[in-house]
Amino acid sequence: MASSKGPASPAARVAEMEKMSVEQLKAVKEQTDLEVNLLQDSLNNIRTATTRLDLASAALHDLSLRPQGKKMLVPLTASLYVPGTLDDSEKVLVDIGTGYFVEKTMVEGKDYCERKIHLLKSNYDQLLELASNKKTVADEAGAALQAKLKQLAPQT
């Protein structure tokens, strides 16, 4: 999705927009709004994923505190739990993606969660910057459009 918005500096951008007709401005604004929405969706997805990883990390931590042999209820389905006992909590099975699972120690597992959370946070920050830049362009387009429309309809 490569869409060059022309000159990079805001002043030059606004100047470009003034030169465009109402139709073109409307198209530019709609296009930018769409992109902003897409970026917002991605941001939300990253936030959800980060929350899930946080929960996993907390669960891991909790698990590490439990003694071996502790009685627990194991979920078989969303509504069926079966009593069981906690085996060795030193080993954990980590889902690393595309159907691969790796056996790790509790420490490695926690480290994995931390690493993933950091990766997601940096992606989120990058995306946030992109999204706010796009939003600025969209706002500029909207303002220029409004000004143009006012120019064209000075009566009443």
Binding site: I96, G99, F101, V102
Partner: protein, 130 residues
Amino acid sequence: MASPAAVRELQRDLENKANDLSRIQKDIAKNHQVRKKYTIQLGENELVLKELELLKEEANVYKLIGPVLVKQDLAEANANVRKRIEYISAELKRLDATVQDLEEKQNSKREAVLKVQQRMQALQAGKAKA
């Protein structure tokens, strides 16, 4: 006399070219979708490869095949993921070439449609051209 027939023929030509154009555009959109899917898979596989490389030799790797977790050899898992990454990269390159070709076709079709439209306008305006 010959004019309305010529106009009708031009209109049919215009319709055909417009249909071709929309077909090409749909192909381009499909190409983009497949490309997105492959790009996501490529990213995921590269993450997996990174994790696998961090592992020590004796670490246990399991693969989920359907509902079954099967123990895998680390070397084999590495090889599989690498092969998959190669395959996806090749597919992406192929898709790139296809979409470029499609975009060229789209542009030339657009020009053709424009030309037919112009001829129609000239005909309807002049009504004396053949």
